[in-house]
């Protein structure tokens, strides 16, 4: 188990590094896909089987597909997705500083933390998927739909707001661009409306 953890840790960090160093966004998406896959394996190691499956379905299936679609959409009909230089020259020193400070905080916290003696609430061992076993779908679903029903409903509301927001932002409703042609059309419509009003 420990060996598996360290192999996964190396793979996770390597794929995360690949995500932020890749030249093209598509390569980053591929790195992120590998990262999410290794993360799902780690979730299985933590006996969070439902979350591991959700990780693969929602992240790898839905969110990464969205990224790929946006990259394809933005790259179509124009020159290949070219970008200016990264912010490395300007931001390398501050970023290194921030990263070092954050890691130092974490290292200090880990070194000073008392040995954690967990209070065991459930049962880890048991047939996969059985009710009452920690991390099983039955266990998770029971907790979600009894004690945590309100947060669940609130996330549904958040998702609905996101859908409405995306439609408003990027939907077919084109932003108003004043052009001469459109101005002429508006002027004609107004004249006609005034003429109709005069006839009445």
């Amino acid at each position: 188990m420990t060996v598996a953890f360290w192999i996964l840790a190396v793979l996770l960090v390597a794929s995360a590094m690949f995500v932020i160093t890749a030249e093209k966004p598509v390569h980053s998406v591929a790195g992120l896909l590998a990262h999410f896959f290794f993360l799902a394996v780690t979730y299985f190691m933590l006996s969070a089987e439902f979350l591991a499956v959700i990780q693969l379905i929602v992240y790898s299936g839905a969110i990464l597909m969205l990224f790929v679609f946006v990259i394809a959409l933005l790259s179509s009909g124009v020159a290949p997705f070219t970008l200016g230089p990264d912010r490395l020259p300007k931001m390398a020193a501050p970023a290194t500083l921030i990263v070092a400070i954050m890691l130092a905080f974490v290292g200090y916290g880990i070194s000073r933390a008392p040995a954690i003696v967990p209070v065991i609430h459930g049962v880890a061992a048991g047939p996969v998927g059985a009710a009452g076993v920690f991390g099983s779908v039955a266990d998770f679903g029971y907790a979600l739909f009894t004690a945590n029903l309100l947060p669940f409903e609130i996330t549904a509301f958040i998702l609905m707001v996101a859908v409405v927001g995306v439609i408003l932002l990027a939907g077919d409703h084109a932003p108003y661009v004043p052009t001469r042609r459109r101005a002429r059309i508006v002027e004609r419509d107004m004249r006609e409306a005034i003429a109709r009003a005069g006839e009445e």
Partner: protein
């Protein structure tokens, strides 16, 4: 070793999660492509989720699972909105570079 205890020490998970989180921070700081910045934010979400699940496993308490589930939902909403903003910005200009998008600057 007791079968209910976490096989790998919790501090290892904390360290791994913080390293991934910091890689995400570095990605946001160093890259100027908004897509890769959004992906770095996804890395940070997932580092937090890993920590939730590790602590949930250590205590055998599935409250962490519930929270990780909610985080995944909110991350999906965030990715959708962020990508929509990228698409909208790209419609009005020819390249995607966060440093040139200053319309919402105060």
């Amino acid at each position: 070793m007791h079968p209910d205890l976490l096989p790998v020490a919790l501090a290892n998970y904390v360290g791994l999660s913080s390293v991934i989180f910091v890689i995400g921070v570095a990605g946001v700081l160093l890259r100027r492509n908004p897509l890769i910045m959004l992906m770095s934010i996804e890395l940070m979400w997932n580092a937090a989720n890993l920590l939730f699940l590790a602590f949930a496993r250590a205590w055998l308490n599935n409250a962490g699972h519930i929270f990780a589930f909610l985080v995944i939902t909110v991350a999906a909403a965030e990715a959708a909105i962020g990508l929509a903003i990228v698409v909208v910005v790209f419609r009005t200009r020819t390249n995607v570079d966060v440093d040139e998008v200053a319309a919402m600057k105060g």
